[in-house]
């Protein structure tokens, strides 16, 4: 097979090596526009040292690369004048130039001599059985087949510049520097005995406010040296055509078209802040060479195989890299946080590191984090404590919240370890029920609350008025299907039916509003009498109060339309009046509708801030269901966590988050990182528990040995 590889970066060279090793079957040509010793950037980092695939594919190259590696186990976090160090990680890095030298020499030894300084003008003119685009982020090969490959290229994250420095670090170092214009970050790491990589980044508006957009190369070096003078400790920043730029996120629906295939950055990029670009590129080369070994002579088959193997892996890294890039783009919002959760938030930013696996890597860090939380945000030398979800919070024994779908389940959930058990939705009046099986606060609750208390937990109740989502059948087979008989009239801010086949509600009059306000206040009184510790007011999911907040359901032309928070505010005030000051009042708040004409997150955050100012002590962040066909509805894993995080960081209110969080590790990570204060867990019973709960068999007679 005649193979033309465009680009002699790590991916292209490694592929050439592996194909050449496969013997006479392949005639390999490598074309590179730059000179052999052209260098861009400084060291490349491998945040996962395991280049196991490379060791198997070419032990010689593996040995040379790993012999050259700078390795270190530590991450240094410099924030608010403190240095926090986390150990137990496995970083390695190599000078990009050195990596290329090793690969070039190995290729030459195998008889492949790249043509350097050779520009390919027309990819379609390449005469080969297989054309490989290993030509990097700006790949000509990819651009030639952009439409067929479904290419998508977009800037991601902050503005950044890639410097070197003669300061030799001994850790992967993150520096967060507060400037007059905003936070500026450094990602720095060593890669040989003399030099470290020093990447500076900040959001574009900060970059402009600092005037970095108007500086030339020398001025920007000088400005960054001055900014980080303390951390550089007299050392210099080194520039190598180091210009400010935006990271380009490259994605393609397909990595091959006909006999043309992409590998490495040409096919996909992953933000540098998780340090996986070079690793992914080299793994691509290995997978592609292996696919040809598996399917000799069957190009299409091999290329499909290669994609099937690599695309899911790359997608996972791109997901993690996207989370990481987004974290650095918004990190300024966390600049008020204490160093401990700030550091843990940084370490867990991409979703790949959690409380549980950091406890494996760096048990001391996690011990200190746990103890810090337990002590209410204070460090004590040598302290030990349970993990963050078990840290007490304002009278709750821990931060685990469980929702009881039926009142009768409350005691059992209290006994299963929760700090707070929430009952509900409970309707404030019979007309405010969702369905005939929606409970109200009449009778029988005090016994359940007593049982919850006896189990050491607190009891809360979610008070709802269904509004235009009322008078429906029980949700056994579906939600939002109207009752055929025995229904009741619906009320809402505007006479717009909620969903297909649902009746139109009546637009509420002043009298209706007064009655609903009284009903909420009355329910709050009954909740006090029943002994509830926590009251949650439902302003989410398209029920009555949420339907006032959303422009998609509130089209009123009176004061309750121009100020959509007005009626929910009146209800909150009325409830706060009845609810004892020392008891927690929670608002379940739909912070965005997920539709263009609905409530947007920015306004949701402002509402959260105002509710907190009026006596809401905890915002339970939810989203969606205000309208049934929300185009941006999202149910991906942890879908509410980024919203809760934003509400907590920007409105500076305590938040509760749920959304199918099923493991203690998720809760510990979310709470430890300061993304939420409490977690609503939904823990399914496992097979092991069923096995343990099953009635034991009759004791068997002892087996006697004959």
């Amino acid at each position: 097979m005649r193979v033309a590889i465009v680009g002699a970066g790590p991916a292209g060279l490694l592929l050439a090596i592996l194909l050449a090793k496969a013997g006479a079957a392949h005639d390999v040509e490598v074309v590179e526009r730059n000179a052999p010793d052209a260098t861009f950037g400084w060291g490349v980092v491998f945040s996962e040292e395991t280049l196991g695939a490379l060791r198997d594919a070419d032990p010689e190259v593996h040995l040379q690369i790993t012999d050259t590696f700078a390795r270190w186990p530590t991450v240094d976090i410099r924030y608010r004048g403190r240095l926090l160090r986390s150990r137990g990680h496995a970083f390695s890095a190599i000078a990009r130039k050195r990596l290329l030298e090793i690969l070039q020499r190995r290729a030459r030894d195998l008889g492949v001599v790249p043509r350097f300084g050779a520009e390919v003008d027309d990819v379609t003119g390449l005469d080969a059985d297989l054309v490989v685009g290993a030509d990097g982020v700006n790949s000509l090969v990819r651009r030639t087949y952009a439409a067929q490959l479904g290419e998508r290229v977009a800037p991601q994250g902050c503005k950044y510049v890639w410097f070197g420095t003669d300061l030799v670090l001994d850790a992967f170092t993150f520096i967060f520097k507060q400037t007059s214009a905003g936070l500026v970050q450094v990602h720095a790491y060593p890669f040989d005995e003399r030099t470290s990589t020093w990447i500076v980044e900040c959001p574009e508006d900060t970059w402009r406010r600092l005037g970095l957009d108007a500086m030339d190369e020398a001025e920007s070096v000088a400005a960054c040296e001055a900014l980080f003078a303390d951390e550089l400790a007299g050392r210099r920043l080194l520039s190598n055509r180091s210009l400010w730029t935006s990271f380009l996120l490259v994605r393609c629906d397909s990595w091959h078209h006909g006999n043309v295939v992409l590998i490495g950055d040409a096919a996909h990029t992953a933000h540098f802040s998780i340090g996986s670009g070079t690793k992914l590129a080299m793994e691509d080369a290995i997978a592609l060479a292996q696919a040809f070994a598996r399917h000799p002579g069957a190009i299409e088959r091999a290329l499909v195989d290669y994609e099937l193997e690599r695309q899911p892996v790359v997608e996972r890294f791109q997901q993690a890299a996207g989370e990481s890039a987004a974290y650095f783009a918004r990190v300024e919002r966390y600049a008020h946080m204490d160093p401990m959760p700030f550091a843990f938030n940084l370490l867990t930013r991409s979703g790949r590191v959690t409380h549980a696996n950091l406890a494996q890597r760096d048990p001391q860090f996690v011990r200190v984090l746990d103890a810090w939380f337990h002590a209410g945000g204070e460090a004590r030398g040598g302290a030990v404590a349970p993990p963050p979800m078990f840290a007490p919070w304002r009278g709750l024994r821990n931060r685990v919240v469980r929702a009881a779908p039926e009142p009768g389940l409350m005691p059992e959930l209290a006994r299963s370890g929760a700090g707070l058990v929430l009952a509900g939705p409970v309707a404030v009046t019979p007309e405010g029920r969702i369905a005939p099986d929606t409970p109200t606060l009449d009778g029988g609750w005090d016994a359940l609350v007593d049982e919850v208390h006896a189990a050491g937990a607190q009891a809360g109740v979610l008070l709802t008025h269904a509004g235009r989502r009322g008078s429906t059948r029980p949700r056994t087979h579906a939600a939002d299907i109207p009752l055929r008989e025995g229904g009741w009239p619906l009320i809402a801010p505007s006479p717009i039916p909620y969903a297909p086949r649902m009746p139109a509600p009546r637009a509420m009059t002043a009298a209706d509003m007064g009655a609903v306000c009284d009903a909420f206040a009355g329910a709050a009184r009954r909740a006090v009498e029943a002994g509830f510790d926590v009251l949650e007011l439902d302003m989410g999911h398209g029920y009555l109060l949420a339907s006032f907040l959303s422009p998609a359901s509130n089209g009123r032309d009176d004061a309750y339309g121009s100020d959509r928070l007005r009626f929910p505010r009146e209800v909150l005030d009325a409830v706060r009046e009845e609810w004892p000051d020392e008891r927690l009042l929670v608002v379940r708040l739909g912070v965005m509708d997920g539709t263009r004409r609905g409530l947007q997150l920015r306004e949701g955050i402002a509402i959260a801030r105002e509710l907190a100012a009026r006596g809401c002590g905890l915002v339970h962040v939810v989203a969606g269901q205000t309208v049934p066909e929300a185009a941006q509805a999202d149910y991906s894993r942890g879908f509410l966590v980024p919203l809760a995080d934003r509400v907590r960081a920007e409105a500076r209110v305590p938040v509760l988050v749920g959304g199918q969080l099923t493991t203690p590790d998720e809760a510990n990570t979310i709470i430890g990182a300061g993304r939420a204060d409490l977690c609503l867990l939904d823990v399914p019973e496992t097979e092991l528990e069923r096995q343990l709960l099953a009635a034991p068999p009759e004791p068997a007679a002892a087996v006697a040995l004959a």
């Binding site: 397909s254 949700r475 579906a478 939600a479 299907i481 297909p500 066909e629 149910y635």
Partner: protein, 268 residues
């Protein structure tokens, strides 16, 4: 986890004799369900017609559309067809619905492509409100947030569109999250699917390439995912079971009753 089998109703050349014989053998085999696919602009047998034929010659096996493209059909006729198959099969029908993926199906039906999600919701609401029977089992497919929401609002469970177990696992998490968000009691039913060819795998791959040609380069990957060995099928079944699938339907990619017999042997 239960394992069902697909009818070859969308494999070109499947005639009535084959479909009926397939249904008879499926009913006698280890399969929980016999499911039909739906395509308008393709050489195929309509799923409701295929399932009525199957209903007539079977006694116990469940029948399912996996899925039928709801918005292609007039709602009243869809309800009527559903009720008819359900009546003929004596309530053995599971109705899986989704919005469909192919523009040409909509063009040939003269139905607007835009707004098909909202129309499917209306159809589901109708089926629930005064449809066939209150407990008719409904499944909804799709991979987007709105599809999960629609499933959780109106259906009893989720119908996944195939792929490796990890893809199913991720979709199942979305389905469960939407279910709990909509306040539905318990958990959604989770159905998965896959293609197989035990023997004649080239013919199977050729059919899948043709059937999925509208997806462009993705068709090759679907063809490469065809399960062509006993081991591949067993791994797939195990992977789905571990991911919490309630019912896995294996669709033939070759229209030959010997395929059904071989699958029955593998599953035995």
């Amino acid at each position: 986890m239960k394992v069902g089998i697909g009818l070859p109703n969308t494999i070109p050349g499947s005639d009535g004799r084959l479909l009926v014989e397939w249904a008879r053998r499926a009913d006698a085999g280890p399969f929980s369900t016999l499911a039909a696919l739906d395509r308008l602009a393709y050489d195929s047998v309509d799923p409701f017609c295929a399932l009525s034929a199957a209903a007539a010659v079977t006694e116990r096996i469940g029948l399912a559309t996996m899925i039928a493209i709801g918005p292609l059909r007039n709602t009243a006729l869809l309800v009527k067809q559903t009720a008819s198959v359900d009546a003929i099969s004596r309530s053995r029908l599971t109705l899986g619905l989704a919005i469909g993926a192919r523009l040409d199906d909509f063009e040939i039906a003269g139905v607007e492509h835009r707004g098909r999600g909202a129309r499917l919701s209306e159809q589901l609401a109708t089926l629930r409100d005064d449809g066939v029977r209150p407990d008719l089992r409904l499944l909804v497919g799709g991979m987007t947030g709105p599809a999960f929401a629609r499933m959780a609002r109106y259906a009893d469970g989720y119908a996944h569109n195939g792929g490796p177990p990890r893809a199913f696992d991720r979709a199942a998490a979305g389905a469960r999250a939407a279910w709990s968000d909509l306040g539905r009691p318990g958990r959604p039913l989770l159905w998965g699917q896959g293609y197989f060819a035990l023997g004649d795998e080239d013919a199977g791959a050729a059919y899948l390439r043709d059937y999925y040609a509208f997806t462009g380069p993705f068709a090759e990957k679907i063809a490469a995912g065809n399960l062509t060995s006993a081991r591949a099928i067993k791994d797939y079944v195990r992977g789905y079971a571990e991911a919490g699938c309630d019912e896995l339907v294996l669709f033939p990619s070759v229209a030959d009753v010997a395929q059904l017999d071989r699958l029955a042997e593998v599953l035995a």
